[in-house]
């Protein structure tokens, strides 16, 4: 059996290598189109075919970015935006996880809470924004709360779903092995719901970024959203682009972070592909 195992292992390693080569190739192919677009954009802009006022150009955007970093302006905006996003995400995510766990584990609390939460979930967040501004003003509180609300629902929903879908047959196993109540939660329910919880975190993060942009575009005196809004009123297209790119990067980085978590925590899943 051991010789067979070694052969199997070798095969696994080989196929792993092939897979990696394939991934590298497909990543290379993925960069092709963006490169073409960038080059064309720059060329058309330099040739004066695209009006630079409206469309800017890659080189102008890069210069604007470097200037913003050098002046320290970027760091200031980024810091305030990140603080808002993190605070809001932490608050909403924590509550979503907590209430999701409670509702997912107790039938009674599900009956009490779930219908109301599901109803509130259908309300578009943007429609609530004016209320938030009226209640909490234009200050930090309304922004953080809006982001928290955005992060709450996906995480609540996925946690609840994940806990509800734990394979009932595994409960019998836990009973026979005499798992304590706490062990049933930490060693059965949470691990089984983890794929959903991580998906919830990912959705909550993207929702939090969206709410951040909305909150900052609607009314702020600092932050990346404000920077975009401010640049728009002065027709500084390059700075608008810088802001958009910053948001895109932030979204990408947070998504990669969740992917990293998934890679480590969900390697047992057969449907999961890194």
């Amino acid at each position: 059996m051991s010789a067979q195992t070694i052969a199997q292992n070798e095969q696994l390693v080989m196929s792993e290598r092939k897979k990696q080569a394939k991934i590298a190739k497909s990543a290379l192919r993925g960069t092709f189109l963006p490169l073409v677009v960038l080059i064309a954009w720059q060329a058309l802009g330099s040739a004066g075919i695209l009006p630079v006022q409206l469309f800017s150009s890659p080189s102008l955007i890069a210069t604007a970015f470097i200037d913003l970093v050098k002046s320290g302006e970027m760091a200031g905006h980024l810091q305030i935006s990140l603080t808002r996003a993190l605070l809001g995400f932490a608050l909403g995510g924590f509550l979503g996880l907590l209430i999701g766990i409670i509702v997912g584990m107790q039938k009674k609390s599900e009956e009490y809470l779930n219908p109301s939460i599901q109803m509130l979930r259908t309300v578009p967040l943007l429609a609530i924004t004016p209320l938030f501004i009226m209640w909490f003003g234009f200050g930090e509180l309304s922004k953080v709360l809006l982001i928290a609300l955005g992060a709450f629902f996906p995480l609540y929903l996925q946690t609840f779903l994940g806990l509800r879908n734990v394979d009932k047959k595994l409960y019998d196993v836990a009973r026979i092995l005499e798992y304590s109540r706490l062990e049933k939660i930490t060693k059965l329910m949470i691990p089984a719901a983890l794929p959903n919880i991580l998906l919830g975190i990912r959705l909550a993060l993207s929702s939090a970024w969206m709410c951040l942009v909305v909150a900052e575009l609607l009314g702020a005196d600092r932050g990346v959203g404000f920077m975009i809004q401010d640049a728009r009123s002065f027709m500084q297209t390059d700075i608008v682009f810088v802001g958009i790119i910053i948001f895109a990067l932030a979204g990408k980085i947070s998504d990669s972070f969740v992917r990293f978590l998934e890679n480590h925590l969900l390697k047992w899943q057969d449907s999961f592909k890194a």
Binding site: M1, D172, E178, P191, W268
Partner: protein, 255 residues
């Protein structure tokens, strides 16, 4: 001889809104310590239900089930259970599935898990996840997981039913080896007559509608048994006759 398991006057009724169905009717059975007993019968005879009652997974029944010196009042590690599907935790690797809620940092547990992995011939697969295991390997992990808790009785609910013929034969031999080494009392529910004859010292033949014990046939063939031997074939046809014989045939074609 000490009895490991006593089933006394056990009846079980399934109730739903409209009707109640008697699935087990007044069962009596004693299993001796270290004995290998299999329960065989047509599908719907309640043999799996009986096993669930012994395991303590279902407490709504009449009568008494005594394991060791205690009346069954819920699931317990004393009664290991092997399900038809392996029911491993997919997020745990082989050794963590076996240890479950016991810590592998404990020297004693660590050693016993290693011994069991050797016993079920899974050396080298300690860190492999269930999705990478074949059906037979997964079932062996499940057996090791049950054995780690040192059960007084191991209850097996058609454990090899979902496996291919080769793997099944292989695991039957593995189970016999484990039984001969550990002398754990085994109660095996199966629909495979050859399996019960190959493995057990006693075959309990059940009848359906309502589930009841029709006969208890001692199998006095020395181990290791040959499936082609004359005594094996004789017992086989004897039990087949028992299973086929319906004194109160009611022309019941319900499926």
């Amino acid at each position: 001889m000490v009895s490991a398991l006593e089933i006394k006057h056990v009846s079980k009724t399934f109730k739903n809104d409209q009707e109640s169905i008697l699935v087990l009717k007044d069962l009596h059975l004693t299993v001796n310590d270290g004995e290998f007993v299999s329960i065989i019968g047509p599908s719907g005879c309640g043999k799996s239900t009986l096993l669930k009652l012994i395991a303590g997974l279902d407490l709504e029944f009449d009568g008494k089930i005594i394991v060791g010196n205690h009346q069954v009042s819920g699931p317990s590690k004393d009664r290991g259970f092997i399900f038809q599907e392996h029911r491993l935790f997919p997020w745990l690797n082989v050794e963590n599935n076996i240890s479950g809620n016991l810590s592998l940092k404990n020297q004693d547990t660590r050693k016993r898990v290693d011994d069991l992995i050797a016993l079920v011939k899974l050396k080298g697969f300690e860190r492999v996840y269930p999705r990478q295991l074949s059906g037979g390997m997964s079932q062996r992990v499940a057996i090791a997981r049950a054995l780690l808790r040192n059960p007084d009785v191991l209850l097996l609910d058609e454990p090899f039913g979902a496996l291919d013929a080769f793997t099944r034969t292989h695991l039957q031999e593995a189970l016999l080896e484990i039984w001969e080494r550990n002398k754990t009392t085994m109660v095996l529910v199966t629909h495979d007559l050859d399996e019960s004859l190959f493995l057990s010292e006693k075959v309990v033949v059940m009848d359906a509608k309502p589930g009841s014990i029709k006969a208890i046939v001692p199998i006095e063939i020395p181990y290791p048994r040959s499936r082609t031997s004359k005594s094996f074939q004789e017992l086989r046809s004897h039990i087949l006759n028992l299973l086929d014989h319906h004194p109160q045939d009611k022309e019941d074609w319900s499926i």
